[in-house]
């Protein structure tokens, strides 16, 4: 269970929120110019990192506002909360210490296959791939 720090209402139980998937996926600027491949990228392809993920949430039973969140998909630690439309924070440069915590700390009772090494690579991969948010040709 996540304890999600809504920027307007404070920390609330996960059940008050709805998940909106990957953040920073703009609608193509010139849809008519997209090839089938580009369309399929926009419609069906999203990042799926084992590590830090930029995603959207809405506080549906509270203030009903959308916001962005950086969350570790292995430990479920919430690393940053930031407004819609803002740039993805650079975690290495400005660690979001006060941004909130998840109630599920790393106390997994299961098999613990989450190798820190793999997670770290994905973090690197996903921070460098800021361009993945728009399909190629989207801004033609």
């Amino acid at each position: 269970m996540l304890l999600i720090p809504c920027p307007n209402c404070g920390p609330r139980d996960e059940t008050e929120f709805h998940y909106g998937g990957q953040a920073h996926v703009p609608y193509p600027e010139n849809p008519n110019e997209l090839t089938d491949t580009e369309w399929s990228r926009y419609l069906f392809y999203r990042e799926n990192p084992k590590g830090i993920f930029a995603e959207r949430w809405v506080h549906s039973t509270g203030c009903r506002q959308w916001f962005n969140m950086l969350r570790d998909t292995v430990s479920y630690d919430i690393q940053a909360i930031y407004p819609m439309g803002a740039r993805r924070p650079d975690l290495a440069a400005a660690p979001a210490a006060e941004a909130g915590t998840a109630s599920t700390a790393a106390d997994s009772t299961t098999t613990g296959t989450a190798a820190p090494g793999t997670a770290a690579t994905s973090i690197a991969a996903s921070t460098t791939s800021a361009s993945t948010t728009a399909p190629e040709g989207a801004t033609k």
Binding site: D13, G21, D36, S108, A114, S122
Partner: protein, 406 residues
């Protein structure tokens, strides 16, 4: 209720060989799908200089975490064809593998709770029959006869308005299935290598020529990915993307009970599914967590909702205790159908996206994927499940049609 005994373990299951420096083919992932793929590569295509690489222990992923339901009552022709082929294989595999993994054809009911459900269900029964899949529509009284502990009164929140019923569906002991495949693979010379994580790929231009692992580099001409929840992590290492999102999915079991639940009951609408294991535990599954995750655990509120639904449908469960809960990581696609076939990398093939329902597909996934790896071409049953369908638009939309809501 089946009174079959658990099978004795054979004295010998498989060797634990050191990885060789090269193989004709490497299968990544030692779950049911990877093992079944290796089995059919050896049996149908004579490829025995092959290895299955598993980063943890054999079948420690979704294979041993699922709720073991096997059925083929899917809506669309493409799905009915591959899942029904799997069901036919399940019916002969215990003999072929010389290992009784307790495949119990006790039937599966998919409950309908709204008029929309009823229409959709009756449509699916019709579609199933046209595809040669056994299916019946049951009214609430017939539902009660098959599963007497079900509450069919009409004063509950979502009353039972009927159910589809597939008599040939059922459950099997999942870990024994993996061991059965592993033993036969081993007998035919396949190397099953545990504690061997694939960490990268060697390529010559766009052609894969080897894998990097935690136990050294292995050269190979063909690579088959069967890594379920981790497929997109591997694809990224190989330089391509998959339209896959990984989500935690949980299950739980009660303590042991006398036989009370003679069939399998699934409900899409209130989202719970229940069967009684051979030993006597009530086995229950629910929906996925909405968000992406690799943590192999899930949210508590999902369990709360699932239990609320279960107790309303089966009032006698109110006194049952939960013994343990666990999670697996399932790889979902947007049309809720698997991806089996070629990838943008030459000689690399992928079998993934089976999401919450791939255990039942294990034999057909293995058979068709082995064909694809051996010949470099899709099998006629997995052809529609290509990666290209996301570009051509020929999606196989089993959401809802698959009778589960995720």
């Amino acid at each position: 209720m089946s009174t079959q005994q658990l099978p004795e373990h054979p004295d010998f299951l498989w060797r634990n060989p050191e990885p060789k420096s090269s193989y004709d083919a490497v299968v990544v992932g030692g779950g049911g799908h990877g093992l079944a793929t290796a089995y059919f590569l050896a049996k149908n295509h004579g490829m025995t200089n092959i290895a299955v690489l598993e980063k943890g222990w054999l079948a420690g992923g979704n294979m041993a975490r699922n709720t073991t339901i096997i059925r083929s009552n899917y809506l669309w022709d493409e799905s009915a064809a591959i899942y029904e082929h799997a069901l036919k294989l399940w019916e002969i595999l215990p003999e072929e593998l010389e290992y009784d993994f307790l495949f119990s054809q006790r039937g599966v009911m998919n409950l309908a709770h709204t008029l929309g459900d009823v229409r959709e269900s009756i449509r699916r029964v019709g579609a199933n029959k046209l595809n040669g899949v056994d299916a019946e529509w049951l009214d609430p009284q017939q539902v009660k006869e098959l599963c007497p502990i079900l509450n069919i009164s009409d004063n509950i929140r979502y009353p039972v308005m009927g159910a589809t019923y597939q008599p040939r569906a059922g459950i099997a002991k999942h870990d024994h299935v993996a061991w059965a495949f592993a033993r036969k693979c081993d007998e035919m010379g396949v190397d099953i290598i545990q504690n061997c994580e694939v960490t990268g790929f060697l390529k010559d231009g766009n052609r894969v020529v080897g894998v990097k692992t935690s136990r050294g580099t292995i050269h190979t001409e063909k690579v088959g990915l069967c890594a379920a929840g981790h497929s997109s992590v591997l694809a990224e290492m190989a330089g391509f993307q998959l339209p896959i999102q990984s989500h935690p999915l949980q299950a739980l079991v009660s303590e042991l009970h006398e036989p009370v639940h003679p069939t399998v009951v699934m409900s899409n609408h209130v989202h719970v599914y229940v069967s009684q294991a051979h030993k006597g535990e009530l086995v229950m599954g629910a929906g996925v967590d909405s968000y992406n995750g690799y943590g192999q655990r899930g949210s508590f509120h999902v369990i709360e909702q699932q239990m609320a639904a279960a107790v309303e449908l089966f009032p006698i469960f109110a006194r049952a205790h939960v013994l343990r809960t666990w999670g697996g990581i399932v790889d979902t696609t947007l049309d809720a159908s698997p991806i089996v076939g070629l990838t943008p990398v030459e000689n690399m093939f992928v079998n993934c996206g089976w999401g919450t329902g791939g255990f039942k597909g294990t034999p057909a996934a293995g058979l068709t994927f082995a064909h694809t790896i051996a010949t470099g071409e899709p099998h006629k049953l997995n052809k529609p499940f290509s990666l290209e369908r996301f570009e051509t638009g020929a999606l196989i939309d089993e959401h809802g049609a698959a009778a589960v809501a995720h």
